[in-house]
Amino acid sequence: MNLELSLFSILLVPFAAAGLALIHQGLGRSRSAAHAMLASLCALAVSAIVFVLFGSAWAGSVGGATHSFLAGGAHWDWLGAAPFLARGISFDGSDAAGLSRSLELCLELFAVGLGAIIPLSAGADRWRLGPICLSSALLGGVTFPIFAHWVWGGGWLAQLAANFGIPSFTDAGGAGVVQVVGGLTALSVAWIAGPRRGKYSDDGIPAAIPGHNIVLVLFGCILALVGWTGLDAAASILFYGAGPQQVVGVAINAILAASAGCLAAVAITRSRYHKPDASLSANGWIAGLVAGSASCAMISPLVAIFIGAIAGVLATYTIEAFELHLRVDDPGGAVSVHALAGIWGLIALGLFGHFSQGTRGGHLLAQLVGISALLGFMLPLIHAGNLLLNRFSTYRVDDDGHRLGMDVRELGAGAYPEFVIHADEFVPR
């Protein structure tokens, strides 16, 4: 393992969180901008602390202590059993295993923060700050660690080869562990919080509520590229043993997948609306990054372009379908961009990835088993957890919050106090 390269890559990951935070606040309303940024900080803070206190123990590591059982002749390693409060990890550099584990913890810490920021996009303009912190704690303490253990911590999905004779489930850049888990949480939040007031007319036609600062959204895309490159590279090095040469390929594939996703969205929106749509193009960029991350170190640049382009097409059409046909009000398109593009990326790895062992069919089967675990186990777990939290602390803001905006309702002041930017506060009642 290359210590300097992996540490450098890990330290790039917060740029992805910064990028997503800017994208989410830019795609929301101006009267919720400060709330959106503070929510991103709180989600990152809560998930990081809860992950170190509890989550890291359950995420575990390859070769570490685990909770497991025997069934059907197979060894089902389902949860890590490392000491809580990260007490089992030494930070003094006295042994190589401790160093490797501390790097994994550092990467997972940033990754869980990134995962916790994803659902904020689906709950924009109506999800209260307290429940955001609770949901982030659920993600950092339970849902992320479980799936991270299954894939990155030597859990049952990483042991498919040993137990069932098919290749193990692979997720080199966290498309499943970070993006799909975050995207499914976003779907759950969008369902629970319901659509924004005024989003749907009486006959069910959705109103366009444009983002308030597209410049920040597009700047967020550039920041996200830097962070994603770091995440893909660091995860490939730490969990799949990628070397420096493969890391160069990871960086090239990341920018190619993002570019193809963005250009696909630009082309589609231009052909449909006669002008490119900036927010959908930004979503295409992120969808390309998400889809490309699953197979980042295992594909050629040409395949990265193809995967990114399909992700851009998928995101562009499904964002509209969710809003128009399924009544899911997801202002930032998190469900399409993170969950669906992530699932496509995991399938694409099975279809096009370069593997040294195993058949193509076996790899595809392993990827389908992993996706099935995400949809069939993680989604009910995530949704049940969020429904339970909604009972204790209602996710959706009250009518005053909808009328005044989240900034004034929850923070007491707007993000842009010098400007009158929405007139309905001043309408006489």
Partner: protein, 59 residues
Amino acid sequence: MKLFACVLLLSGFFIVLAALVLLTSLQQRFAFVAAGFCVEVLGLVLLTQSYKSMTEEQR
């Protein structure tokens, strides 16, 4: 309806697990994993429909 949808999602997952444990041939496993997937998609559609109808009722 939501509970039934979640049960369908879990059932699909257990069909996939059963395919891994009980079957050995790649083709058979593919078929059963595909079947499990279909059950999961059915659960997802049901869950989506239940929230869609809830949104329409609230409106």
